[in-house]
C-alpha cells in the first residue's frame, strides 16, 4: 500500500532478457453476479521486469486469478491499464486483452488436451499458428521434451503419465512458442511436497535456460520464496498489493536454500503479511469466486 503512490511497486533491475515487461497500473475489476457488485481487484499497480519470476501470494479467492485472467485476455477489466513491453494489452478503450501466444497460461488443474499425445500437445502451438509444419513441429517437440528430461513420453496420452510429468510437459508446451510471459496459476497446488520440490527444480532449470518472465500465482509461501525474485503479497478481496518482499538469494538455487538463514528471515517477513490477510479472508467466510 505504501509503495503504491510514488513509485508504483517498481520493478527491480533483473538480469538481461529485454522482453516480457508487464506493467499493471491502477487496475480495478468489478464482477456483477446476479446484481451484487463484487470488487475483486481494487486500484492495483505492479511493475514486473523482463525475465523476472514474480510470485503473487494471497488468501484464497482474493483476486490473484482475476489479475492473471486480465493479462491473459480471458476477462475484461473495469478500469486501469496493463502494458506488455510498452504495448497496451488492455485499458479504458479496450477492456479485454486479445489472447495470444506471447502470454501462455499453465492452469491449476492442468489443461493438456487429453485427446492428443504429449508430443502433439507440445507441437500444437506452432502448428496452429502456422509457424512450423506438422513434421517440424513434432520434431521440435521431441527435442524440447528431451531437453526437459521427459524421455519416451511423446507417444503417451496425458492420462497415462503421472501428474508431475503432465505438468512439466504442459510447461514445455508453453515454452515451445517462445512466449514473452509465462502465467502460472497455482500449477502445483494438488501435489505432495516431495513431487512439488522436484517440480520446482525442473521449473528453475527451464527458467535458467530461457529467462522468460514468469507470473506465478500460489499460496505456498515456501514455494514463492524459493522460486521468486520478488514475492508480492496481496490483500484479501478487493485485492491490492500489500507488501513486496525482494528475494536476493543468488541463482541457480537448489533445495539447500530452504534451510538457509536468509530464507528463514524472508519467510518470517512474508508470513506476517500473509497471515494477517488470511485471517481477514477466513473471517469473511465467503465461498471462493472462480
Amino acid at each position: 500500500m505504501t509503495v503504491m503512490s510514488k513509485n508504483p511497486a517498481a520493478a527491480p533491475a533483473v538480469q538481461s532478457g529485454g522482453k516480457g515487461a508487464i506493467s499493471i497500473r491502477n487496475v480495478t475489476k468489478i464482477y456483477d453476479p446476479g446484481g451484487v457488485n463484487v470488487v475483486a481487484v481494487d486500484n492495483c499497480s505492479l511493475e514486473i521486469a523482463p525475465g523476472e519470476i514474480c510470485m503473487i501470494v494471497g488468501p484464497s479467492g482474493c483476486g490473484k486469478t482475476t489479475l492473471l485472467n486480465a493479462i491473459a485476455g480471458f476477462h475484461s477489466i473495469t478500469s486501469g491499464t496493463i502494458h506488455l513491453d510498452g504495448e497496451l494489452l488492455c485499458g479504458p478503450d479496450k477492456p479485454k486483452a486479445e489472447q495470444g501466444a506471447d502470454r501462455i497460461v499453465v492452469f491449476q488443474n492442468g489443461a493438456l488436451f487429453p485427446w492428443k499425445t504429449i508430443r502433439d500437445n507440445v507441437a500444437y502451438g506452432p502448428i496452429v499458428q502456422g509457424r512450423l509444419s506438422p513434421v517440424e513441429a513434432r520434431g521440435k517437440a521431441d527435442h524440447m521434451l528431451a531437453e526437459a528430461g521427459l524421455h519416451d513420453v511423446g507417444d503417451k496420452y496425458p492420462g497415462e503419465v503421472s501428474s508431475g510429468m503432465a505438468r512439466r510437459a504442459e510447461i514445455v508446451r508453453a515454452l515451445i512458442n517462445d512466449p514473452r510471459v509465462l502465467l502460472l496459476d497455482e500449477p502445483y497446488r494438488a501435489m505432495d511436497a516431495l513431487t512439488k520440490s522436484i517440480m520446482h527444480e525442473a521449473l528453475l532449470e527451464m527458467y535458467d535456460r530461457t529467462k522468460v518472465t514468469i507470473f506465478f500465482i500460489t499460496h505456498d509461501l515456501e514455494e514463492s520464496i524459493f522460486l521468486g525474485d520478488r514475492v508480492v503479497v496481496m490483500t484479501t478481496r478487493p485485492a491490492q498489493v500489500k507488501k513486496i518482499v525482494d528475494v536476493r538469494i543468488p541463482r541457480p538455487r537448489n533445495y539447500k536454500v530452504l534451510s538457509s538463514n536468509e530464507f528463514r528471515v524472508l519467510f518470517a517477513e512474508a508470513k506476517d503479511a500473509v497471515h494477517e490477510e488470511a485471517i481477514k479472508a477466513f473471517e469473511a467466510g465467503e465461498r471462493e469466486l472462480a
Binding site: 491473459a72 480471458f74 501466444a101 497460461v105 503421472s162 508453453a174 522436484i198 525442473a202
Partner: protein, 302 residues
C-alpha cells in the same frame, strides 16, 4: 498415482527411463484374465443364475403346466424349434424368412441410425458451440421431444408414402433427439480451461472447433449414440408392429396373431441379441476413436 516410484527415477536428467516389465498383451493377457476369473465364484454363480431361471421356467411351463404358464412356450419347445431343420411352427435358423426378417430390421436400423447421426452430431455440435444458435433451436427441439415417438405413427404414414419410409422415419426421429441432446451436452461439458489453453496457444476459432470441441465432446457423443441405438430399436419394433410387412417386430406380432407362440419368443430373443450386438459395435467404435480414454481407463484397471 502409482507411477511415483518410477517417475522420480526417470527424472534424473540424461539418465533415461529404466526398462520396466511389460504388461502382458494379446493372448497372454486374455489367459491371465480368464485364469483370474475362473478362480472367483462369479462365473459359477452366473451359470447357476441363468440355468436356475431357465429350469424354473421349464418346470412351470412344460412339466407342471401351471395356470397361465401352460400357454407360454417353454424353453424346450423354443430351443428344439429354433434349431430344427423342420420347425413345427415355421421359424428356425434353417428357414429363409427368419433371416429376411432380421435383415429387414437391421437394414432399417442402419439407415435410421446413419441419418440420425449424420444430422444429429453436427447439429448438436453447433448448438453447443454457438450460444445464439442454441437459443433459437433448443426450444423447438424441447417442444417436440416430449411427444412419444409412437404418437407420430399416423402422421408419419400420412407424410411419407409407402410402408418403408414411415418406419425408418420413426426410428430416425427417436435417434435424432437423443444424439442432438447428448452431443450438445458433450460440448457444454468440456472444461473451460481447454478452450482457454487453445486460445493462449494461438488457435483460430476453426481450429478450436476441430481440436477441442469435436474430440472433447466425443465421450458424450458415443454415450449418446449407444442410447440412440437403443431407442432406434425401441421405435423400430413398435413401428413394425403397427405398420409393417417384414422385420422382427412384425414377426413377433404376426406370430401372436396367427397363434404360433414359439416364433414369437424366437423373435424376442433374436431382437435382444441383435440389439446387443449393434450397441456393442457402437461401443467398440467409440473405444477405437477415443484411444486416449481407453488407455487411461485401462491403467486404472477398468
Amino acid at each position: 498415482m502409482s507411477g511415483d516410484g518410477t517417475s522420480s527415477v526417470a527424472i534424473q536428467r540424461g539418465g533415461g527411463a529404466p526398462a520396466r516389465p511389460r504388461a502382458p498383451t494379446g493372448i497372454a493377457y486374455f489367459q491371465y484374465v480368464l485364469n483370474k476369473k475362473l478362480r472367483s465364484p462369479t462365473p459359477y454363480l452366473m451359470a447357476l443364475g441363468i440355468g436356475g431361471w431357465i429350469l424354473i421356467y421349464w418346470l412351470f411351463s412344460e412339466v407342471w403346466n401351471l395356470p397361465r404358464f401352460e400357454k407360454m412356450p417353454g424353453p424346450v419347445a423354443v430351443i428344439s424349434d429354433w434349431f430344427s431343420r423342420k420347425p413345427f411352427q415355421g421359424t428356425s435358423i434353417f428357414t429363409e424368412t427368419y433371416y429376411v426378417h432380421i435383415w429387414v430390421s437391421v437394414r432399417r436400423i442402419m439407415i435410421a441410425f446413419a441419418i440420425a447421426t449424420a444430422i444429429g452430431v453436427p447439429l448438436g455440435l453447433i448448438m453447443g458451440w454457438s450460444r445464439r444458435f442454441k437459443d433459437y433451436a433448443f426450444p423447438i427441439l424441447e417442444t417436440l421431444r416430449p411427444i412419444p415417438i409412437l404418437a407420430w405413427v399416423p402422421l408419419a404414414i400420412l407424410m411419407f408414402k409407402g410402408l418403408e419410409t414411415p418406419v425408418i422415419f420413426l426410428a430416425t426421429l427417436a435417434s435424432l433427439f437423443v444424439t442432438v441432446l447428448n452431443t450438445m451436452l458433450g460440448v457444454e461439458s468440456i472444461d473451460e480451461a481447454y478452450f482457454r489453453a487453445a486460445g493462449c496457444l494461438g488457435s483460430k476459432p476453426r481450429q478450436v472447433f476441430w481440436h477441442v470441441v469435436i474430440p472433447g465432446s466425443l465421450p458424450f457423443i458415443f454415450t449418446g449414440l449407444q442410447i440412440s441405438m437403443g431407442v432406434a430399436w425401441f421405435s423400430l419394433v413398435a413401428a413394425e408392429m403397427v405398420s409393417g410387412d417384414y422385420g422382427l417386430g412384425y414377426l413377433i406380432l404376426s406370430s401372436y396373431v396367427n397363434s404360433v407362440t414359439v416364433p414369437m419368443v424366437i423373435g424376442m430373443l433374436t431382437l435382444g441379441f441383435v440389439g446387443w450386438i449393434t450397441s456393442a459395435l457402437v461401443r467398440m467404435a467409440g473405444n477405437q476413436m477415443m484411444q486416449w480414454r481407453t488407455r487411461a481407463l485401462a491403467l486404472e484397471g477398468r
